[in-house]
Structure formats: C-alpha cells, structure tokens
Symmetry: C2
Amino acid sequence: MTPHTPVGRPLRPQGKLLQEDARRHHRSLLLQQLFRDGPASRADLARASALTRVTVSDLVGEMVAEGLVTELGAPEGSRVGKPPMLVGLAADSHHIIGLDLSETDSMSGAVVNLAGTVLARHEVHVDGAEGEQAVELVLRLATELIAMTDRPVLGIGVGSPGVVDTAGTVIDAPNLAWTDTPLAARLAAALDLPVFVANDANTAVLGEHTFGESGDGGLMVLRVGTGVGAGFVLGGSLLHGHLGAAGEIGHVVVDPDGERCACSRTGCLETVLAAPRLRRTVAAPGVDGPAALADVGRQLGEVLAPIVAALNLHEIVLSGPAELLDGPLLDAANRTIRERTMPISSTGLAVRTSKLGEDVVVVGAAVLVLAGELGVS
Amino acid sequence: MTPHTPVGRPLRPQGKLLQEDARRHHRSLLLQQLFRDGPASRADLARASALTRVTVSDLVGEMVAEGLVTELGAPEGSRVGKPPMLVGLAADSHHIIGLDLSETDSMSGAVVNLAGTVLARHEVHVDGAEGEQAVELVLRLATELIAMTDRPVLGIGVGSPGVVDTAGTVIDAPNLAWTDTPLAARLAAALDLPVFVANDANTAVLGEHTFGESGDGGLMVLRVGTGVGAGFVLGGSLLHGHLGAAGEIGHVVVDPDGERCACSRTGCLETVLAAPRLRRTVAAPGVDGPAALADVGRQLGEVLAPIVAALNLHEIVLSGPAELLDGPLLDAANRTIRERTMPISSTGLAVRTSKLGEDVVVVGAAVLVLAGELGVS
DNA sequence: CCGGATAAGTAAGTGCGGTGAACTAACTAA
DNA sequence: TTAGTTAGTTCACCGCACTTACTTATCCGG
C-alpha cells in the first residue's frame, strides 16, 4: 500500500523504475511476509516470495545488519535435512510515533512498535490553541513522545481532523483553524524524520485493516465522535478522493425535515448520529432508548445502503462509544442495509464494532508510517 | 491501470519484480505518453519519462521494429540543433475486438484500433440462447469480427452483463443463464488470444475515462438501459469490489413504498429509472413529463448523495437515452446531490451525460485490452 | 560562407541486481 | 557407514539502464 507520499523522500514508482526500486520492493515483500505470518526461515521466505534463496539471503542479511530483522534459532520439530534458522521482524528495533489530533480538547499520541503495540502514551491539552499555535503544540507533543523512547524512530504518523491531501497538507480543519496548512512538511522539517499525515478516519481504517480482524475485501470504518466521518480501504489501499475529502459523510442529509445542522443544512447524519447527540437522545425523559437508537440505526442504514451496493464492501466497522453503537443501533443499520440492497451486495458483508478502541487512530497513524517506510501493512 | 488479469499471460508485479518487468513498465510509460499527448521525439519522451535518451532510443527502436510505433518525420517549426524525428503510436498496427453482451436481444461487437476508433461493427441475435449456447455465440461473434480485420489482433475485450470477477469469470448473469462461467478462459483457449472480461458498466466507465472528456479524479458512469448499473474508476483504476459486484446499484431501494420489483423488493432504483420504465412514465396520459423526470432525478440524487460524499467523486456521467436523461432528470439529480452533501464534496463534482453514445461499452472493452496488453489507458 | 552553439540520436563501456548451477553444512533413515 | 534431504552460500553470468563520449544536423553571428 502507498497511502501517502512521505515528506523528504523519493516518491514511489509511478514514473521510471530503477533496479534500486526493485530491491526496495523485494525487501518490502519479505518484511510483509514476516509481518503478516510471523517468523520464517530464509528458505520459507524464498518459497513464499518466488525469489531465489540467494537473493533472499542477501536481503535478509542486509536487514539483519540494520537490526530490522533478527535470527531466532531453529524451530522445535525435527525433520530431515539441515534445520532452518528462523528470522523474524525485530518489533522493537525501531519505534513509531502515532498522533491523534481528532479529540476535542486534547491531542494525544503514543509510542508504537513495529508490531502495532502501544508502548507509551502522552497527551497535551489544546486550550483553544489554533492555527500556528496548534502546529507548535503538535510539534511539542511529537518531541515529547520521541524523548520517551530510546529506539530510533522510524517516522511520525498523524491522524488529523478535517480534509488532508496526499502530500500531508491539511486543506481544512475548522476546529484547529487550519487551512492549507502543510503539517507534514512542517513536522518533517522540524524533526528531520519522515512524516505522514491523513484524516483521522483514514488512519482509523488503516489501523483496523492492518491490526483488526478484517479480511481483504473493501473495508469501511465509520467513526462516531464529536462528528461523524468515515474512511475506506479498497483494493488494499486507502481511498483519498478527488480533493482528499473521501469519507466526509457526516453532513449527508438523512432527513430533510430533521434538525438544523451547524453546516446550515437540515437533517445531516451528524444531527442524529454524533456521540453527544446520541447521549442526549437516549437520556431524554420519556424516551425509549433502544427504540431511539434503532431509529438512528435505520437512518444510518439508509445512508450506507447505496455505498454498500456501489462499492460491494466486505466489512463495515463502527468505531466510537460501544454502549451506544453496539446493540439496537448496529442491528438496525445492518437490517436496513440488507433490506435495501441485493443479496449479492449484502451477503458478503459483515457489520460490526471495532475491537481496537480509541487506539485505532494512533495505531492507524503508525500503519501510515509502516506502509510508507517499510512497505508493510 | 491493471484492471484485469490477462488470461494466459504472466500476472502483474504484486510479487517479485524482474528487470524484464521494469522494461515492460518503461515501454508502457512511453506508449502511454504517445497515447495521451500524441507524437513526440525520442528526446521529448526522454524528458517526459525521466529515462535517458539512450534508453528511450532503445525502447523506441524495439517498438518501431514491432510496428507499434512509426517515425513521422520532423516537425515544421525550425529551432537550433538537429531537428527531432517525431515518433507516434501506429494506431492501426494492431486492432482490438470489443464485444458488448449487455443488450437484450443481440450481442454486438466492433473492430477498434489503438486510438479507440471504431472501424467495423457486427452483431448476432441471441434468439434465446443461454448458458453454453450463449458462450458459443460469443465465440462466433468474436471469430467473425477477427475475420473482418487484416491486422494482428491485440486481444479481445468483453463487456458482459452480470457480475464478473477479476479473472474474467462471469459469476452470475441471469439473462444469459451464466453462473461461474469462465468466459475469458473459454475464449482465450479457443481463440489463442488475450481475453479480458468485465461487467458492461465497468467497461463503460473505462471507455469514458480513457476516451471521454473526464479528468483524473474519481469517475462514476451510471448506465441506464434495460436495467441500471454503474462502474467506478477511482485513483486511476477500475473498482471491482469484494465479490466483483461493485456498481450494482440498480436494486438499491429508493422508495420503500414504491412499486414491486422483479427482485422481490419494493421501490428499487430500477423500478423508476430503467429506460423502458422511464418511457412509460413520460408517455402516461395526463402526466407532466418533465416534472415526472425531475422526480426520478431527485430520487436518483438521493441514492447518489451518500456515494458522492463517501468517495469524493470528480465526475458522474449518465449513459443511456439522452432524450430522457439529459434535462430535468439530470438537473434534478444534480440539484439533489448538492442539497444533500457538503460543498467540499460537491463543488469539485460535475454531473453530465456521456458523449460517447452506445459505443462506450465496446470502446471500454478495447480499453481493457489496451491496459492489459500495452499498459495504456 | 564558415566556425560556434545547440540539440538529437548512437556506440561503447560500467554497475547493479537477480539468476542458475554447484557447493558446503547439517541433519535423518536404514 | 552410506544415501537422501533440506538450508544456506559462493560464483559466474545476464539483462537493463546508466554514464561518457561521440556523430549528425541544424541555426546564428560574424
């Protein structure tokens, strides 16, 4: 996957293809294999990659020298022939800094290893910081996180609210008052590290795709928080959209006779599905909570049905407060989708909640780095 | 773009990358350049591709020897230095057979050159042929078309109704009674040529993407005929979906209180938008035609709005009977989409009808071959 | 009309990366 | 011990694009 262009690095093929690129590609192939299926012998890797044993040995040797991969000894079972030497990804040879800027009052981040395990967390309060001040705040958060690990940092991944283009420039993020803010470039220049920035829903879908229990078909992650947004992984890679605004479905109208929205339209999805709104709905006196949630689920299903049919998705994952989403709301959404689409579209579809919790954004931000730097995801 | 795996050919990178692959890639790069921007000198190609003049000369020489490219003499203008020798794609060095199996009573096809120009047409009547008989009929049509050209045939492209997987197997096509029919493999074996098969809406979107006036953002083509289907080109490549059923939006419910559909649901998009149905609607006595069409357009817009927001599309193209689609229907759909999505999603969006007419499917089928065999699109 | 500048295209040699063939190493089976 | 199997390495080779250095062909300024 090549979700984003790393800042300060040569860009990916698209154009001419050098031998050097081939070598990087083959390296990624081996890393990917180790990443997905765990340790293997050089011979195993050769069989899986269709490269020769010679080439694999060479590449593995290089990666062992860098510390990215380590020899782990021979496996238990004893078969004929020389026993293989297992090699595996050294998950803590490098660490990744993942940042989540999507929360309302704070920016949080984590030190993540190459296996996607969160090793340390840190956060800073926003306190109304905007524009340039907010950028400085992100820089401080990143710097403090870098200080929390003694390993070399592979790169910085950022899940930002708002619309982000493929170069890591935040086109528009009202909460932080960012417009055309070259966040990736700024951080890369200040920290001298590869930096990748994407919308928070997009990093979330990457996290779910790589570390969730999802398959290889199309995946959609719907994030329900202060607002509502989505991210898509289609054909193994992140969907950006024409202007980087793919997944911005929070302001699709679901009920033209509904409530007035801050965006000046009426009956946007956010006016019924945003987390604060959901909480108010179920807490309202004299309201049947489950029925109200089911009603929202039905409306969500009405929005999702055309998307499901159009994209022939494999999985939809809801990410957000489980006590609100998991239950009548999810069931009703699921049911509505099936009522409103053909079996060919819906039988292959699973709708569920995320098991990764709120870490999904930072871990997904780390995936951005893994994919960009190691070609792994 | 690599929309489909050619039958009987080595598959594309994904795995190991040989030098041979690099060379093919660079060849495609040059062909693509000539295809899009017309004739150029070797030096121009070197500048555009970032390859050296030496390498370009070598590749061009190879392609000239194959007849794919021809020298066209020096251009008019006179500047300093040795005048360049223009080279250009020899559009008629090879021909492509494009087939359209989506019509109700007949299968049609065409001989298409490398520039996408239709040179000859031919069709056969289906007369109720089904299953194996229908396959034989496709084979006959292809054979007869091959006999209509004296040039080497680059490959066969097929736009088939129903759901088609990436290997060119028709998973399900009720009209022809095909289920899991390996159409590409059958034709490839019988004709000893590369064969590519895709859903007709998918070939249509490829045709529109390559030969229409579309830009590089996400493109959706909505085909309105006996049924309703769509195809998507996202990030420059065709969207297949989990089970190859992407774009099957004909049976998304738009009006739960609507008319009963053949698929057993009520109020499917097809029950209001299919061409025969539209014709009946406007011809009904005592009905305000334009208003009725606008009403359908509004319903279409309601289905498209979530898709537009989710994918951040750049263009939506309606393909079908222009007298019905172009006018109140399109205007209402366009308006509804804008009413129901945010400006960030809709400002970059154009909604229009196709200028390619009914050839869009066969020409798109030819694009399938161009992309698969020459890496051009 | 003749050198000098500039650009297009060609020829020869270099380096990189992957390959196949042959080899060593380490083990099991009989 | 001998045969057979598997892992991993060494080495010579090949294909590809690169650099360097050239020829060819034109314009331009004196």
